[in-house]
Subunit: 328 residues, 2 copies
């Protein structure tokens, strides 16, 4: 039996394809994690999240709270109003649905249960425990199936009039461009997310340019996903590095747009794609410096990896449940 | 001799083509204005602003402060670092240069002298005295020769790490699009500013589609400017209304981008172009509603005219000098 040495929180980061739960202490350290696939519909999704929470519930330590990050617009009442990458899910009461599902005793009475946008969670992690802790103005960009964001201005997480701020992946960078699941065309995330990376890789594979990545995906062009490229880049594969170079151009354009609007002192990149490390960061910093308005007349903000890598969303969901890193 | 009935401030709004000075009371009421052309170089520009201040200096009332709004990146020391629409001007010490030029006694010792981005000034006017006073999250968009912006989040003017936030006109909305004076391509202000309106009108005139506007510009296609279209639209001219319909599509795309990032409860449009009134606002609201992400799942923010119309920048510069509407 584990001894009680301080309270803990559970954070769950729901992505477009998988949900990652983490048991986190009050210093932001991850004690254990668990991953399940993301169901496409609301009730099965709540079942899966509840299952993760039960799986992670600590035996001998006090559970101080549970936070859930979901990939879409979450209002102040914990309702997921709309999720572009989970189109079947609309108006899902996340916190209410979880309360109904959790067995007695899993979540003790004083413990907090909160839901927020997954990218706001990633921002809260960096603000509370990570790379953003020393900066007043930061944009945290989460690069996964789509692109999410958390905007910190003057030390505060910007939430907007309805709590929906930070949906930066749906800023249009190309009039009439690639169709997006949100219904618009030319959204940034169609050019600079993990799905965009997968598309670039499939195009390159069809043209015979990336035989190694094609082999890693079992020789089937249509089976290539962004993750194959990210893993290959992390291992130093040249084909993958070239694809990240292509993606960095589009990523940097969107970051330059955010710099024009918000003048952050730092960009923090998180999400699954950051596992590519310098293959992502080096070309992005290089392109960004050529695009920043008035770059010769101002400091150029750094673009760095999130401290917590792909765990940032889960740690930040836990941080919000702990009351750390939240606005106000 | 005017009796002393309360202190006043002077606000100067420097645009790409003209500089407008206003004498303003502590309630935001404009007592008098004066306009001069904007010189393209730094020292003559400071001479012109100093001349405006002397012209407007009140005879019988206490001058509490002078604020100057300039169209570019202004740092915390009152230095205009870079102005995309005034490319000759770099590193101009605005407040220091004005102090040297103002005759003794014009600016009494306790009076404040401040310089800020012109669009931040417009935001301060609306935040202090205008349409933004009741909202916590607002984007004020200034439509003139270029596009400027002021972002208010959680009731505070967002200034960024260097004071350069709000340069929303230089967000790229079209990869490889129209060249911009900032050195990039495809900036939003190339599609939705007064200069863009002038370009659309010249193209339409060359194609024989806007004979009335062509006549108003003396029959010379190259002489058509955005102002001709704005004045014609304000007078209900159908040709001008159709051109605003064209521009509104591009304007709304950029506003939807800002809504995705910032989730404001209200957009306030200012600058010279707002004189077109409903010819600008109606099609912009209509297009915006079709572009807002998840529009059926959230309140749709209104897009309204600035309370102070084309005077907002000058009133806001005065407001900042009065300590009204500033952040912190």
């Amino acid at each position: 039996v584990a001894t009680s040495d301080g309270g803990v929180a559970i954070g769950v980061d729901v992505g477009g394809t998988k949900a990652l739960g983490a048991l986190v202490d009050t210093q932001g350290a991850v004690l254990t994690t668990h991953v399940v696939p993301t169901p496409a519909e609301g009730e099965p999704l709540l079942d899966a999240i509840a299952g993760l929470i039960v799986e992670l519930a600590p035996a001998g330590r006090e559970l101080l709270g549970v936070g859930v990050g979901v990939p879409g617009l979450v209002d102040g009442a914990g309702v997921l109003r709309f999720a572009p990458n989970l189109p079947e899910i609309v108006g899902l009461g996340v916190t209410a649905g979880l309360r109904r599902r959790l067995p007695d005793g899993v979540l003790p009475a004083p413990a907090r249960l909160v839901a927020d946008n997954d990218a706001n969670c990633a921002g809260a992690a960096e603000l509370g425990f990570g790379t953003a802790a020393a900066e007043s103005d930061v944009v945290v960009v989460t690069l996964g199936t789509g692109i999410g964001g958390a905007i910190i201005a003057g030390g505060t997480l910007v939430r907007g009039a309805n709590g929906f701020a930070g949906e930066i992946g749906h800023m249009i960078v190309q009039f009439g461009g690639e169709p997006c699941q949100c219904g618009k065309r030319g959204c940034w995330e169609r050019y600079a997310s993990g799905s965009a990376l997968g598309r670039f890789a499939r195009e390159a594979a069809a043209a015979g340019r990336v035989p190694g990545i094609l082999a890693a995906a079992g020789g089937d062009v249509d089976a290539i996903k962004g993750e194959h490229v990210t893993e290959a880049a992390a291992a130093g594969n040249d084909e993958a590095v070239a694809l990240f170079d292509e993606l960095a151009f589009f990523l940097a354009q969107g970051l330059a747009n955010l710099a024009a609007a918000l003048d952050p002192g730092l960009f923090v990149l998180g999400g699954g794609m950051i596992r590519a490390g310098e293959a992502l960061l080096e070309p992005t910093n290089r392109c960004f410096a050529t695009l920043l308005e008035g770059a010769e007349h101002r400091p150029i903000p750094g673009i760095v990896g999130a401290r917590f890598g792909y765990l940032a969303g889960a740690i930040g969901a836990a941080a919000l449940a702990l009351g750390v890193g939240a606005a106000e």
